[in-house]
Amino acid sequence: MSQYVLQAQDVAIHYGGVKALDGVDMTLEKGQIRGLIGPNGAGKSTVIDAITGRRPLTRGKVTLMGQDVSHLGAVERRARGLSRSFQRTSIFHGMTVRAQVELASYKMGMANSAEDAEAVLKELDLDRLGNTIAEDLGYGEQRRLDLALALVGRPQVLMLDEPMAGLSVKESHDLAHHLKALTSKWDVSVLLVEHDMDVVFGISDVITVFELGRVIAQGAPAEVRANPRVREAYLGSTA
């Protein structure tokens, strides 16, 4: 069996002549946080879309726990433990916080969905807002609810697309701290797309850098930060 929880091999998504992703290879180990960085349009969100089945692959293969999931739809991949949040907050606005998290947990086949939902809500400090209709929540709370929906059912891999977008510095750092704690506590592996470099370099075990749909560098944070090509393409000379 593969040592990797998740493996993307030669993944490509082309739209006619435009190569949104081209020949991307990436791995994720158990309990690891891999940060994905790069300029806008580099392919970071597209790689999450490719792995979760939101966009069909032009080429390549995605394996989860050693099993090829490339041919599966989003629902099946989620059932196998591949979960995600979205760049724009993606929740059920008309439902209460507890009802939607409990529903997600139920759909994930948790034996006691109410208990699982409560644990997730507590973990993200949303339990006191359980009976609130989601549209009445503040923005930061909605972001946390988005994360809660991705966390139910104890996924193997959690893919977070700019989870800190729009949050205050304090909220970002609190959420980053939470994430780091969750990976070891719940044994979940994380792919993190984020523009806040303090957060990415602060909590990632490894970092992959994208440019124009291709991986231009990957490695430990210090290694990536020192890479001249990365500095030139994205971080800038003062990084």
């Binding site: 989620r78 059932a79 993606s90 059920f92 529903l103 929906l149 059912g153």
Partner: protein, 328 residues
Amino acid sequence: MNMSMSRVSILSVLTLILGVGIMTFVTSSSLLAMFTQAVVYAISALGVGFLLRQNGLVSFGHALFFGAAGYGMGVILQLEWMSAEAAIFAVLGGLAVMGFLMGLVIVRVPGIAFGMLTLAIGQMAYLLATRATGMTGGTDGMSVAWPNEVFGFSQSVLLKPAVLFMIAWVLMVVVTYILLWVIRTRFGAITEAIRDNEERARFIGITTTVPRSLIFAISGVVTGIAGLLSSFNTGFVSPENLHWSVSAITLLMVVVGGFKRPVGPIVGAIVYFLFKDLLGEYATHSNAIFGAALIAVIVFSPDGITGAIERAFKGKKPAGAAHQPISH
């Protein structure tokens, strides 16, 4: 808003008692006939409102189910395929299957395109009914030959204005109760999740097409029940029952009454028929006046009369359309 089923049960019983009161104290046959017609339309609107509430989809073609129920019954009774009682269930079962299969194809289409598809399918059925003269009587329509006894009751008794009103009233209460129960089930929660955010629903493991198709089928059956009642009331069905204007009026009732509260469509139907009655000799212009009322409701209370009433009690501001998207 989300009252428990025990409270729903109590309210249902009280509503049934109210129906008995109306049946007992209203002695005018013409008034009872109007009430019956209002209740029939209320049931029809319940179907359209349920689709809008649970799927966020606006149907411009639900007259298809209203008319098809009458035609289905008429054809079965004419050809003597089965008893009237069995035919009722066969027609409703047929509508459920038809709605589900249609739903599998059309609920994937978002927003206004869905509305146009339902309109197109409804009008195709209308044209079919006008052209298939041999079976449907064409533009003249066909009589629905109900037998002398239905479910052991004499037709002459069942057709008494007070009795017919009570049958329609009981059906309306039962249908509402069932819809309220469905909304509170896990299935109801799943469909609300899909309505709110279909993509997120998929990413919490929900397959979206089948639940949406089932809602479409349920809503079609509910409107079909109204169509059956109408055919029993008049003993007749014509292409007019399938016409888009029937769908439009039903939809107006839903919008005026409010679709977020399951009983909103009933309120809309009652208001519509009250309008028609109060306008008296001006009734020929009732649709124009009701249209003006519709504009007023959309501007001042986008979630309808029931929304306005709820806000009046809770002191909330009107819910903007953006807060609850009606389609995805």
